[in-house]
Amino acid sequence: MPMVEQIEILLVEDNPNDAEMTLRALRRNNLVNRVHWVKDGAAALDLLFSNEKKPKLVLLDLKMPKIDGIEVLRRLKADESTRALPVVVMTSSNEERDVVETYQLGVNSYIVKPVGFEAFLETVAKIGLYWVLTNRVPQ
């Protein structure tokens, strides 16, 4: 496990295929070394609440075993220490109710994973570059 200090993007994704494709997209933009991948919500919460140093971005899938993305988002936005953490939901769900619910919980962005690989690569690259390099977060 890499040192927490090095983590800039926390990828929470239970599907290894999607995770691999996401990592591949980030790799093309030389962001892959700063990514840490966990396979479920419980692991993500453990990691985030046990470390002082927070990542610059959480890429969160919604449908996951154990603790799902909505619950992770709720806990992050409910806690003083994690509320400012930018969370981008990346999901296959195009359901309006998911969009509404996550925005009510304070999500920073909601992205539907494109089915086509090119579009997927492009989208992931945009997100990584924007939130890690362009966006500024409170220190």
Partner: protein, 842 residues
């Protein structure tokens, strides 16, 4: 008494008186004188007593006839009054009518009576009054009488004395034309309580009501008068009798009476003439004394035979009166035609001294006659019997004119009737017409082997025939009236039962609530749903007592105040509680009943049990939820593997592409494009299913702006005409335009001169929009398939697409209440139309 018989009796007297001079002329010894003197004294006493007997018998006969006539009229009249009173009572006690009066819906109650004056012509007018005697509604309706108080009227005083049906004396009524009428007033009992809710008054027109009196066959100078309870004359058949009258009075019902009167001089004219003849005879006898003396012994010998004849004549006379009296009694007792004929025919035959006498009834429409009663020397036949052609009674036209017919059996045409008559030894017979009220109803026939019908016989037969005709027609009239009344009662009972059944077994609950809020009626259906017996609810419970506490509170605080304000409730849902404590949902509809002043009187409610509907609604909601979660998981779970197929295909292409040959790369491309297409299919299908579930959020939509925006998004520039505004969901309509314009662009894109037009118009209360292109078009044979899901008319290699776009268009338009259709020709383009209901504001 007729003059022939009077003359005969006078001669007998003269013969008796003539025996004294005979004794003196024959120079008989003293014993003969004593014998003759004592005979003379005896005969003198006999003559005086005979005179007295004759006088009292004739006087009694006259007065008895008058009394019988008065009794007949009084009975007929009483029966008419009773019929009128019965009619009033049967009208007043109809359930629906009494309910309306009880609810003070005077006009609706009066509407029920509308047909009465037509059905019963003697009822000229009806009205309804309240307990205080104020007129509330009338039939036919007259201006200016409503609200007037009639408590001074006799009928009001009569009916309020003990709340019984009353018949008033004659009075001049207020309504125009002002004329004399009788009023029959009866209280209308309120259903349930039985208390009097109002008074039904029938005004009876005197002229129609006394129509029957014109048909009473009165001897000349006899006047029939009907007097009311105040002694006023309600009807008189002629001018009042001024001279000293002979009068017969018979009390009728309801304090009325019938008077038969005739100047005494007229009434006793026949008797007086008879007695005058008797006296004249005494004079004549005195004159004959001397000349008749020499005939003394011979006459003396014949005296006893003459006396015998006189007695026989007197007996005949008495029998004749008895028969007539019997007929009168039959009329009064309202016997059947058969009973009247049976009582009379045998004594009549004996009186006429003929072997056979028959009362025949005529059926002129079929040309037949029938025996009612026939009497022979040994046998009496009664009841409907032998039928035979009416021509056997002689000339029917002559009978109609009242002329008796004498028929010779030998002159009849040969036939079974003629043979039968001859076989029973009838050679000649007489048919005397029976005529009542101008109608020939039958004939009295008699005869036998002899051809001799003396005038006296004819006179008796004619008199009896006339009386029989009156009696039989009265009996028939009475029978008709009775049958009519029975029929009326039966119909009222039937109708009442029908309404009761309809009320009780309706497929919904009914109840009525009075002004105090208590339930006063409830039907069987509703009671069965609630599990109560009628007596547990009616008069004891309030509507809200049947509800759960929450519903009862909502009823009291919200529904009831609204009901009092607007007068009705529609489809309001409440939770009701059965007797066993279980509950069920039901919808309530109610209307209020107000009086003329707009005060709340009562309410009527219908209740529908909706537990089944509720259960289905809940099932449906559960199914929808299931479907929703299914589509949710489809959207998520199917997409992820597709993305992996495409993504890893691409990775193979990137990382191992150089090591594959051309065929390998082509196959890989097929895998990737197929996965993309499947992704598109899933997305379209989810869009389509979402359209069915999503609520419409309608607002005013500028269709021209929406179409322009969609065209821009689709990257085309159509010819845009004017489009009517719509009231619709803009997001969904945007999808419609996008799909139609996208299709138009797709199918015309291969033409260099591609042209797309958009237009709209208003017609028949709806807006029509269309998108036309000059592309490849389609075969109209497949027009029906265009709007089905996944239905395509072109291959994917020709034109890409999933076949969902037009299905979405149709679903959106039909959810808005419109329709879609398309026209096209192969190679010439297509035009897609859709309609929307016309925008309410424009």
């Amino acid at each position: 008494m007729n003059s022939d018989t009077a003359g005969e009796e006078a001669q007998t007297d003269a013969a008796a008186a003539g025996s004294r001079p005979i004794a003196r002329l024959v120079y008989s010894p003293a014993a003969a004188y004593v014998l003759i003197a004592s005979l003379l004294v005896g005969l003198g006493v006999l003559a005086v007593r005979y005179h007295a007997t004759l006088d009292s018998a004739a006087t009694e006969a006259v007065t008895a006839r008058r009394l019988a006539l008065a009794q007949l009229a009084a009975t007929t009249f009483s029966e008419r009054l009773d019929r009128a009173a019965d009619l009033a009572v049967s009208l007043a006690t109809r359930v629906r009518f009494a309910e309306l009066v009880g609810a003070r819906s005077w006009d609706s109650a009066a509407a029920i009576l509308r047909a009465v004056p037509e059905e019963f012509p003697y009822v000229e007018r009806l009205f309804l009054a309240d307990r205080a005697g104020n007129l509330m509604a009338d039939v036919p309706r007259l201006e200016g009488v409503r609200g007037r108080n009639f408590s001074e009227r006799e009928w009001y005083r009569g009916v309020t004395r003990d709340w019984k049906t009353t018949v008033s004396p004659v009075y001049r009524r207020t309504a125009r034309p002002q004329r004399d009428v009788i009023a029959v007033a009866t209280p209308v009992p309120a259903p349930g309580t039985g208390e009097t809710a109002g008074i039904l008054v029938m005004q009876i027109a005197l002229d129609v009501f006394f129509g029957w009196a014109h048909e009473v066959d009165l001897p000349p100078s006899v006047v029939l008068r009907v007097v009311d309870s105040k002694g006023q004359t309600a009807y008189a058949s002629g001018a009042p009798v001024r001279e000293e009258p002979l009068r017969a009075f018979v009390q009728a019902k309801h304090g009325w009476g019938v008077v038969i009167e005739q100047p005494a001089a007229d009434a006793f004219a026949a008797r007086d003439a008879q007695l005058a003849l008797v006296k004249l005879a005494y004079g004549l006898m005195a004159a004959f004394l001397l000349t008749a003396a020499w005939l003394g012994l011979r006459i003396a010998r014949s005296r006893s035979a003459d006396l015998g004849r006189a007695r026989a004549s007197l007996e005949r006379h008495g029998e004749r009166l008895r028969i007539l009296h019997e007929i009168d009694r039959a009329i009064v007792e309202q016997r059947s035609p058969e009973a009247i004929a049976a009582a009379v025919i045998q004594p009549l035959r004996e009186l006429l001294g003929v072997p056979r006498a028959i009362v025949n009834r005529f059926y002129l429409e079929t040309g037949e006659a029938e025996w009612i009663a026939a009497a022979g020397r040994r046998r009496l036949h009664v009841g409907p019997g032998v039928r035979f052609p009416v021509r056997l009674m002689g000339d029917v036209e002559a009978l109609r004119r009242g002329e008796p017919q004498r028929i010779d059996v030998h002159a009849l045409p040969p036939g079974p009737e003629r043979e039968a008559l001859l076989a029973s030894d009838v050679r000649v017979y007489m048919a005397v017409p029976m005529i009542a009220a101008g109608e020939l109803i039958g004939a009295l026939s008699f005869g036998g082997a002899t051809a001799d019908f003396p005038p006296e016989q004819r006179a008796i037969a004619q008199e009896v025939a006339t009386q029989l005709a009156i009696a039989i027609s009265q009996a028939r009239l009475h029978e008709r009236v009775r049958r009519h009344a029975e029929e009326l009662e039966r119909r009222v009972a039937e109708r009442t039962a029908e309404l009761q059944d309809l009320y009780n077994h309706a497929p919904c609950g009914y109840h009525s609530v009075d002004a105090d809020g208590l339930i006063v009626r409830m039907n069987d259906t509703w009671l069965a749903w609630l599990g109560y017996a009628r007596e547990e609810v009616v008069g004891k419970m309030r509507h809200s007592d049947l509800m759960t506490p929450e519903s009862a509170a909502r009823f009291r605080d919200e529904a009831f105040p609204l009901f009092r304000r607007q007068g009705w409730l529609r489809e309001v849902e409440f939770e009701y509680r059965r007797k066993d404590g279980s509950t069920f949902p039901a919808t309530l509809n109610a209307t209020s009943v107000l009086d003329a002043q707009g005060r709340f009187l009562a309410s009527r409610s219908t209740v529908f049990d909706i537990s089944e509907r509720k259960r289905i609604e809940e099932e449906l909601a559960a199914l929808n939820k299931e479907l929703e979660s299914f589509t949710y998981s489809v959207s998520h779970d199917l997409r992820a593997p597709l993305r992996a197929i495409d993504g890893f295909g691409r990775i193979i292409e990137e990382d191992y592409g150089p090591r594959l040959d051309d065929e390998g790369r082509r196959l890989l491309a097929v895998v990737r494009s197929s996965s993309k297409q499947m992704g598109q299919l899933i997305d379209d299908l989810l869009d389509f299913s979402r359209l069915g579930r999503q609520d419409l959020s309608k607002q005013s939509v500028d269709m021209a702006a929406l179409a322009r925006e969609a065209a821009r998004e689709a990257g085309i520039e159509p010819d845009l005409g004017a489009l009517p505004a719509a009231h619709a969901d803009p997001a969904l309509l945007r999808q419609v335009w996008l799909n139609l314009l996208g299709n138009a662009a797709k199918y015309s894109g291969k033409r260099p001169d591609a042209r797309i037009e958009v237009g709209g118009r208003q017609e028949d209360g709806q807006s029509v929009y269309w998108v036309r292109d000059n592309g490849v078009g389609f075969d109209m044979r497949y027009a029906g398939k265009l709007f089905g899901v996944f239905q395509r008319l072109h291959g994917a290699d020709e034109f890409p697409g999933t076949g969902v776009g037009l299905a979405i268009v149709q679903r959106v338009v039909s959810r808005h209440g419109g329709r879609v259709w398309a026209e096209g020709r192969v190679g010439e383009g297509a035009c897609f139309h859709f309609t929307l209901p016309k925008h309410a504001d424009g």
